[in-house]
């Protein structure tokens, strides 16, 4: 089961290493990790996606809490959460296929960032699944490179 942990940490040197080290030490693979500052410049938010059973996620959450620089951890409930990821895809495309690729991008409400004679670079924002879907459709054209940010997420509603 995938979990999205939203972790508020003090914006101090070494915090990322401590958090990442803890996951690997306790035998977890991090699927994706996104870090950025919050509305408070002293505090950063890490959004960590991990694949885990219920029990071990509890243990790793408790261990995370023990890190002095970790302020708050929320195990986001998928149903009450909006999660997004941003990806940049460089796709092979020449004059013959350009229109088709651009059409696909349009369907997905993706932006065209760059066009060269042989490639098109597309920016897409959306759920993990949406990005995967576009990638699948573009595969026959030849995907040269994909860069993904990793998931970020926020709870719905007023909280």
């Amino acid at each position: 089961m995938k979990h999205i942990l939203s972790v508020l940490v003090e914006n101090k040197p070494g915090v990322l290493a401590r958090v990442a080290g803890l996951f690997s030490r306790r035998g977890f693979n991090i699927d994706s990790l996104a870090v950025g500052i919050t509305e408070n410049p002293d505090v950063s938010r890490m959004t960590i996606t991990v694949d885990a059973e219920e029990h071990p996620i509890e243990q790793v959450t408790k261990q995370l809490h023990k890190l002095i620089n970790v302020i708050k951890i929320t195990d986001l409930d998928a149903e009450k959460t909006v999660a997004r990821e941003l990806a940049l895809l460089k796709v092979k495309s020449d004059a013959k296929t350009r229109a088709e690729v651009m059409q696909l991008a349009k369907i997905f409400r993706a932006q065209i960032l760059d066009v060269s004679r042989k490639t098109i670079t597309i920016e897409i924002t959306g759920t993990f699944e949406k990005i995967d879907a576009l990638e699948q459709l573009l595969q026959p054209h030849g995907v040269v490179e994909i860069v993904r940010t990793g998931r970020i997420a926020i709870e719905r509603g007023e909280k």
Binding site: V9, E10, P13, G14, A17, R18, G21, R25, E58, Q59, K62, Q63, H65, K66, L67, I68, N69, V70, I71
Partner: protein, 561 residues
């Protein structure tokens, strides 16, 4: 003021009186400031010794131990000592020098990423990048090390930070938004626990090292007496409940007493306090206390339900929580007689499966040496050990009655811990008799600290149970590996008494049973550092023993035949 002087001021502000360490290139400024201060510094012969001394000092006194090493190899030599303190939750502040901040990351001379290396084995660590942070960082470090579940904190200080001229200001209020240990137990949980205790017919207390840290022995004794509940302790918990009390079951687990292991297995309520359901205690997890409802009181929420599902978890300080439970129980209608048949059963187990060893004519039995130490010191000494057979015999055949009188490497199981820890304990408690029980294998891992003990005249008595083997591994090889003693026979040993004399300590070799008591008495009376080399029976085993992966009631050996 220089950064190095600010470090000294910060140490004094934290109430530090003694430090253990060894200078080197990147801590010369710090040692220069130390030169003018009234802090008492003990120069060790190996940095590992400094870390273990700080650890032993902390466990004996309850105060935070401090050790200092230089950058690179000095810092890496502390690593085992820091890991040991982490596993056994000892409050410690380790100070390391570091290459100049402009050289960090360039593989400079004696540069090692010590905050990176120690990351998994510290409670927290700091690399000082601004000398004006010194007083704040030291205040935080001591606060973190000594509160909540204690542990080691490392402060890495580049040489230029020590040299910098700063405007020293004492640290202000501590502001750590991510660190707020829960001290008070949840009232509702305390009431649930009290009700479960009052309802239990076969309750057992299972008390660990957290009891000693919390200083909760009076509360434990009061509840045990009020409700007539037997108490077993872990290796780390020895001394938190007086073993001369009828309700004591001694230690449980892999080398626990038969009656402790039977009582836990057959209990209907297990009350774990400051213990962490470690694999050496539980044996096979599925069968551990399988009939029992489980209460777990611990400072560290991550320990609750880590290994075993808990029915009534209570996060908080053991002293506070036990006091709360005691108050509830006193206010409750209760029948202490309810546990009477259970206590009869426990007494029957005690009679049927007492701790036992077979005396052999012409040999000094290792257990006998421990019994003699117990008799001569009237169970009043601070006893330190390394890891292995000598440790288990010391746990089993000595009567542990007081907290902070048993200093042993529990979680990490470090050979070479006991002797420097004993030196640290004696520094902290100069009026106590401090005995280090060692193995002939482990003593050599920090034998060089004899120089420290002699130089500062720290009269610790080392009793080597010399069996010419790495004994515990040999025991496993005997029992589970067809007696194939691969690399465990270490009969090629130095003359320990002569080594001790060469260092300027008292050295004695004891080969006859009748001389054991006199040797111990002479060593204690001499008020000198002393090494007693007891030539004990070589192939004696520690029993009872629960083979790895078995249920703790499936013990082998140790029964009277």
């Amino acid at each position: 003021m220089k950064g190095s002087e600010a470090i000294i001021e910060s140490l004094k502000a934290a109430g530090v009186e003694v430090v253990f360490g060894l200078p080197g290139g990147m801590v010369i400024p710090l040692y220069d400031a130390l030169y003018d201060s009234d802090l008492k510094h003990f120069l060790v012969r190996h940095e590992q010794g400094a870390a273990h001394m700080a650890d032993g000092y902390a466990r004996a006194t309850g105060r935070t131990g401090v050790c200092i090493a230089t950058s690179g190899p000095g810092a890496t030599n502390l690593v085992t000592g820091i890991a040991n303190a982490y596993m056994d939750s000892t409050p410690m502040v380790a100070i390391t020098g570091q290459a100049r901040s402009d050289l960090i990351g360039t593989d400079a001379f004696q540069e090692a990423d010590i905050t990176g290396i120690t990351e998994p084995i510290v409670k927290h660590s700091y690399l000082i990048k601004n000398p004006n942070d010194i007083s704040r960082i030291f205040k935080e470090a001591f606060y973190i090390a000594s509160t909540g579940r204690p542990g080691p904190v490392l402060i890495d200080i580049p040489a230029d930070m020590q040299l910098a001229e700063i405007d020293y200001r004492p640290a202000g209020k501590i502001d750590l938004p991510g660190y707020k240990p829960t001290l008070k137990g949840h009232k509702k949980q305390i009431i649930s626990a009290a009700k479960a205790i009052a309802a239990a017919e076969k309750p057992v207390f299972y008390a660990g090292g957290g009891m000693i840290i919390a200083g909760a022995e009076k509360e434990l004794l009061a509840i045990a007496k009020l409700m007539k509940i037997p108490v077993t302790t872990t290796l780390m918990g020895l001394g938190c409940f007086p073993e001369d009390n009828d309700l004591s079951l001694g230690m449980l687990g892999m080398h626990g007493t038969g009656y402790a292991n039977y009582a836990v297995t057959h209990s209907d309520l297990l009350i774990g306090v400051g213990a962490r359901f470690d694999d050496r205690v539980t044996g096979k997890l599925e069968t551990f206390a399988r009939h029992a409802k489980k209460i777990h009181i611990d400072m560290d929420p991550a320990e609750i339900s880590k290994n075993i599902a808990i029915d009534i978890p209570i996060v908080g300080d053991a002293k506070d929580v036990l006091a709360g439970i005691l108050a509830e129980l006193k206010a409750m209608k209760r029948e202490p007689k309810k546990t009477a048949p259970w206590l009869d059963q426990v007494i029957a187990w005690k009679k049927k499966h007492p701790l036992h060893y077979k005396d052999e004519k012409g040999s000094i039995m290792p257990q006998f040496v421990i019994e003699e130490v117990n008799r001569i010191t009237k169970s009043n000494a601070i006893l330190c050990t390394d890891v292995g057979q000598h440790q288990m015999w010391s746990a089993l055949f000595y009567t542990h009655t007081k907290p902070r009188h048993w200093i042993s490497s529990g979680g990490l199981g470090t050979m070479g811990f006991g002797f420097p820890a004993a030196i640290g304990a004696k520094v902290g408690c100069p009026d106590k008799t401090v005995i280090d029980i060692a193995g002939d294998g482990s003593f050599q891992m920090n034998i060089q600290e004899l120089a420290t003990a002699v130089c500062y005249d720290i009269p610790v008595v080392v009793c080597i149970l010399n069996n010419g083997f790495l004994g515990m591994v040999r025991q496993w090889q005997e029992l589970f590996w067809s007696k194939r003693y691969s690399e465990t026979a270490i009969s090629c040993q130095p003359d320990f008494a002569a080594v001790a004399e060469a260092y300027g300590a008292l050295g004695m070799t004891i080969t006859k049973k009748k001389d054991v008591g006199d040797a111990i008495r002479t060593a204690i009376k001499s008020k000198r550092p002393a090494v007693l080399d007891f030539r004990v029976k070589p192939e004696e085993n520690v029993f009872p023993m629960v083979p790895a992966g078995k249920s703790i009631d499936e013990m082998i050996g140790g029964h009277k035949t």
